[in-house]
């Protein structure tokens, strides 16, 4: 109960007029950078950082973290309305959010996303409050082998998930891995796959890839198919916002499961991106309406959003207690901590109680402020969908070009973004899934580093992946997820003998 009294102490710091005002300002700025092209949370936070140098550390972190919450919510807006995810972790939200918005229900899609995101964040903060010290210990148990096992689990939950043919999923993954390999290799230090373009040494930025694949790719498809090109006549109704939020408890199973996945991936340093993908994959497999996923299912929005925010929130804990930033934004904030004269690390919780518990209390209050503000803005954002296609299409192109350019002020990025647009279009036309491609681009090189670091440690023996209980569990769970569709298929064949036997065998080869 020590933690509770600390938390109450924290509330006395966080709930003061100046701090509440900072939260509101932070959240609004955050929503703005989340929605605006190419800004995003890490840039927004680093722009704001110099302003905080004169502040008390607690006030500074409250401002920056509120901005982070605002940007997370704001990022979902563009994912849902325009199919342009601003952060890696909101890619999975586009899968069902965008179809639902196109279907004339942008209000429902946005309100569902915000409601479940708030739930996820809340679960994450509660976890931090009560399990702070335990959680820090769990994260320490993660060496390279365990990291690899977590990434493997995320990939496994996607391969053969149904929907696309498993072969196509594997092809998409392989292309993603190749793209992730571009640039300098951490383990050998050598330059790979730059194809004579000097600037490619920096690698392919995620934002560049995703803006092209989703934003431009979708636009090309829309131009071709007249159906997409119609403006959506959405009703702007305040009551729909509250009705949607009120309906959320009906999906309590999905909410709880996704929050659990999110927290787990946030603590184990898998991060929000892996969490949202995994949660979506698992929801698709276990939901009764799984086969409708991708057409605008409510649970297809709930699962990634809840997991994303649960992971994003609980990932702040390893940052504070261990000094490992879980995301780009967390890395910027950590730079801030050092400039304010605080050292992230195990002693922060002992030396800087006011700071830590003020921050944790502000997470509760900040998220409430954020969700209230974004829910109020839903109808405004939904109204954007009524703008006719002839106006919105050039806007999307501008968003993507500016967004790609501002990643590192580089013209090459704009060219690559357009190239990815064509890839995205081809993938859609040929029914190749984009999700595994994006997943491989985002965590492919991390998985590779972890695997090769493990191999260095064990001197080439795969035994390291079964060396202790933790890593064995993770690897076995991953293999089980990989084989599950196969087993289900075999079971079906068992019940209905004869005909589709040959097909199963060929699929088996692919999965393995």
């Amino acid at each position: 109960m020590d933690n509770l009294s600390e938390l109450f102490h924290g509330f006395t710091i966080a709930v003061t007029v100046p701090h509440l005002a900072l939260m509101a300002v932070g959240v609004l700025l955050g929503i703005l950078v989340g929605v605006l092209p190419g800004l995003g949370a890490p840039n927004g936070v680093s722009l704001l950082l110099p302003l905080t140098f004169g502040m008390q550390p607690v006030s500074a972190i409250i401002l920056l973290s509120s901005m982070y919450w605002g940007a997370l919510f704001g990022g979902s807006v563009t994912s849902i309305l325009f199919n342009i995810p601003g952060e890696p972790s909101s890619v999975a939200t586009t899968f069902d959010g965008y179809p639902m918005a196109r279907d004339g229900r942008p209000t429902t899609a946005l309100a569902t996303a915000f409601g479940s995101a708030a739930f996820g964040a809340l679960v994450g903060v509660i976890l931090i409050t009560f399990l702070a010290s335990w959680v820090a210990q769990v994260a320490l148990a993660f060496g390279p082998a365990e990291y690899f096992a977590v990434y493997f689990l995320a990939f496994a939950s996607f391969v053969g998930m149904g929907g696309a043919a498993p072969v196509k999923t594997v092809v998409a993954l392989a292309i993603g891995f190749a793209i992730a390999a571009i640039g300098i290799d951490t383990v050998s230090g050598s330059v790979r796959l730059t194809m004579g373009v000097d600037e490619l040494v920096k690698g392919v930025n995620f934002v560049v890839a995703v803006m092209g694949l989703f934003g431009i790719g979708e636009l090309l498809v829309a131009v071709e198919e007249e159906f997409h090109a119609r403006a959506v006549s959405s009703k702007i109704e305040w009551r729909e916002v509250f009705r949607t939020v009120g309906r959320l408890p009906r999906h309590s199973v999905a909410l709880l499961r996704s929050a659990a996945i999110g927290c787990w991936m946030g603590i184990t340093p898998g991060g929000p991106t892996a969490a949202s993908f995994m949660s979506y994959g698992i929801a698709r497999r276990f939901s009764r309406r799984g086969r409708y996923f991708g057409t605008g299912e409510v649970e297809g929005i709930i699962s990634p959003e809840t997991a994303d925010h649960a992971a994003g929130t609980s990932a702040l804990l390893p940052m504070l207690s261990l000094g490992i930033p879980g995301s780009a934004t967390a890395a910027v904030m950590m730079g801030g901590l050092m400039i304010w004269g605080l050292n992230p690390g195990p002693m922060l919780f002992v030396d800087q109680k006011d700071f830590v518990w003020g921050l944790i209390a502000s997470m509760y209050v900040g998220n409430i402020v954020a969700v209230a503000l974004v829910l109020l803005t839903v109808p405004v954002f939904a109204a954007l969908m009524r703008i006719p296609f002839v106006i919105i299409a050039p806007l999307i192109v501008i968003i993507c070009v500016v967004g790609a350019y501002s990643v590192s002020n580089s013209y090459l990025d704009v060219v690559m973004m357009l190239g990815f647009g064509i890839v995205g279009y081809l993938f859609k036309k040929l029914f190749y899934p984009l999700a595994p491609l994006v997943l491989a681009i985002v965590i492919g090189d991390k998985a590779e580093d972890a695997f090769r670091q493990s191999m260095l440690m064990s001197r080439g023996s795969l035994g390291i992946f079964f060396a202790n209980k933790l890593v064995t569990c993770l690897v076995v769970a991953g293999i089980a997820l990989l084989l599950l569709p196969l087993v289900l298929q075999l079971a079906r064949v068992w019940r209905k003998p004869a005909s589709p036997n040959v097909e199963t065998q060929s699929q088996e080869k692919v999965v393995i």
């Binding site: 110099p50 261990l322 730079g335």
Partner: protein
């Protein structure tokens, strides 16, 4: 307290302003871009932002300064950008010894000769760290235990400063270490805290939080003499209590990493001189002292011939290690 420090600031600001007009040969006419060759939050990013702050605070130039991060490819992105901006005096590149070390060991599209050296502004020290509950108390004990050949040494990046030092330890201490590269020093420190590694050679600022938290401790520092007296880090010890590696029988007298500042190539000597002077002014402020102390670095200022000499010597030394290891690229 507040009042006094404000007073001191205004006094030193006035002193700086007084010295400014003496060297008004070239003045910037448009905004200046500081390029940090590392991602946000790392040591290189911190120094760029610290310098930016000091310049803005004392209005050392009329022009606004923006910091951009180009940390892709272990910093190569930023240097390549600097090479591509030849002749542009509005791009200031902040880096480390990477600028001359990286082209030796990987096929990056730049060399330090493509840039105009301005100064080396601070030196980061290296220490040998082990897990808090490790049985060895001195570098000698460590080497004895490492003779088993089973030791894992972690570090940031591959074939970079950390690995070079690791190979030097191997040679001097007659041991064999398995080097495992991670993305950053902070990540390496956490891996040691979790017991996945046996040791690493982090800079003070990368592990200070972990030392204070009792997850790891330094055995010795790779420096000719002990570090300067400062505040205690743990209850009983501070940086000055850490013995040098040489006095413990690990005979590497000096190994440090400079924080370097560059302009693109083909700028005029007047333009270079302007920035040398600007950095000197930055170094004279109390904020700079504060930054140096908080990040546990050593304050130095090498420019002109001294800086060139430093680069040449370091390059010779790294080249030797790299050729022994077969890392040199043709």
């Amino acid at each position: 307290m507040r009042g006094t420090s404000l007073f001191l600031l205004s006094v030193s600001a006035a002193a700086l302003a007084g010295s400014a007009p003496a060297c008004a040969a070239w003045q910037p006419q448009k905004p200046i871009e500081f390029v940090a060759t590392a991602g946000p939050g790392g040591g290189t990013d911190n120094i760029a932002r610290a310098v930016q702050n000091i310049i803005t605070k004392y209005k050392l130039t009329e022009q606004p300064i923006v910091v951009v991060n180009k940390g892709g490819g272990s910093g190569a992105e930023g240097y390549v950008y600097g090479k591509a901006s030849a002749g542009d005096p509005y791009k200031v590149i902040f880096g480390t010894s990477n600028a001359w070390q990286q082209p030796l060991v990987s096929k990056v599209a730049f060399n330090y000769t493509d840039l105009t050296p301005i100064a080396a502004m601070a030196q980061d020290e290296f220490l040998l760290w082990v897990k808090q509950d490790a049985p060895y108390k001195t570098a000698g004990d460590y080497l004895k235990a490492a003779a088993s050949g089973e030791f894992k040494m972690g570090g940031a990046q591959s074939k970079d400063t950390d690995e070079v030092l690791t190979r030097m330890i191997e040679k001097v201490g007659h041991v064999k270490l398995t080097y495992i590269p991670f993305k950053s020093g902070a990540e390496t420190a956490v891996q040691l805290a979790g017991g996945h590694l046996d040791s690493h050679v982090n800079n003070p600022s990368e592990s200070i939080g972990q030392w204070r938290g009792g997850t790891q401790r330094p055995l010795c520092v790779f420096s000719p003499k002990r570090l300067p007296q400062g505040a205690k880090v743990t209850l009983s010890e501070g940086w000055s209590d850490v013995p040098t590696c040489a006095e413990q029988g690990l005979d590497i007298k000096q190994y440090e990493q400079p924080r370097t500042v560059w302009l693109p190539g083909k700028v005029t000597p007047e333009q270079a001189a302007y920035y040398v002077d600007l950095m000197k002014k930055v170094q004279a402020t109390p904020e700079w002292k504060d930054y140096i102390e908080k990040s546990s670095q050593i304050d130095t200022f090498l420019t002109g011939a001294d800086f060139d000499k430093f680069i040449k010597e370091d390059l010779e030394h790294v080249k030797q290690v790299a050729s022994e290891q077969g890392w040199l690229v043709k």
